[in-house]
Symmetry: C2
Amino acid sequence: MSNEKQVEDVVEETVDTEVQQEETVEESVEATLQTEIDQLKQQLEEQENRYVRLQADFDNFRRRSRLDAEAAQKYRAQSLVTDILPALDNFDRALQVNTEDENTKSVMKGVEMVYRQLVEALQKEGVEAIESVGKPFDPYEHQAVMQVEDEAYEPNTVVEELQKGYKLKDKIIRPAMVKVNQ
Amino acid sequence: MSNEKQVEDVVEETVDTEVQQEETVEESVEATLQTEIDQLKQQLEEQENRYVRLQADFDNFRRRSRLDAEAAQKYRAQSLVTDILPALDNFDRALQVNTEDENTKSVMKGVEMVYRQLVEALQKEGVEAIESVGKPFDPYEHQAVMQVEDEAYEPNTVVEELQKGYKLKDKIIRPAMVKVNQ
């Protein structure tokens, strides 16, 4: 083996070893960076998912709020209407007095006007008296307090109303108290 | 120069060169990875900021919704109350009829009871008549439709009420129409 050839071989071997060592160090740096990238990507994905979930919660809340507000608006008068009904019942009764007396007639005329105004104000807010006499008995709208047998009416029909019932829009505030034909 | 020393020198030089080349390549890979890391960190920060902003929007919306719902609840009866006031005015007037007639008295007694029931139902919802006669004139609660000079009263005092005013809780639904002493 020539002296030169010997030197070349040694050089090559040593270079390979040193380069390999350097490469190992570099590979480990790369791996660390890659790990960091993977972690960051994962964090980013989680954060994006959190955002999407929060957005969905927000949308749901907004929709629910709107529906709640609409329902509250629709039935806003319910509490006052419910409290007014007993006065309305007595009003109704007071107006059923029969009189021939002119003075009394005149007072009752004024009172009747007030009653009509009150009923109109309630109608404007969506309050309606429930129809009953002559209608088929409806357990949702009518409360049967008496049963009769009357051939003049169809079976299961309301024959008399004992107390007016009221609806607020599509909601029954108080069913009508009725006599029903069996 | 010894043979050995020669080999060492050559090895050193060659290793340096090769390692340098490797290092250049590695440095550019590292730089790319580092750039990606920086970008990901920036994206992550932006995404976190978006989340925080959305969270703040959501909190604001929730608070505003609650306040809106409370206000709607508080004044829910306003519309119906406003519509009922003209009936209440006429009711008031009908009850001011003076009569000695027993029949009429009896009817009016019934009607008075209805009136009281109605006023109570309104009170329960937070409706109150505004005090006026004898009170200092308050442009918020009273509407001056006439001015008089009356030494029996303090200046700037309400001396007569021409139409009742009403409040719904802390809100003036209709000011009282009054005569004011100059």
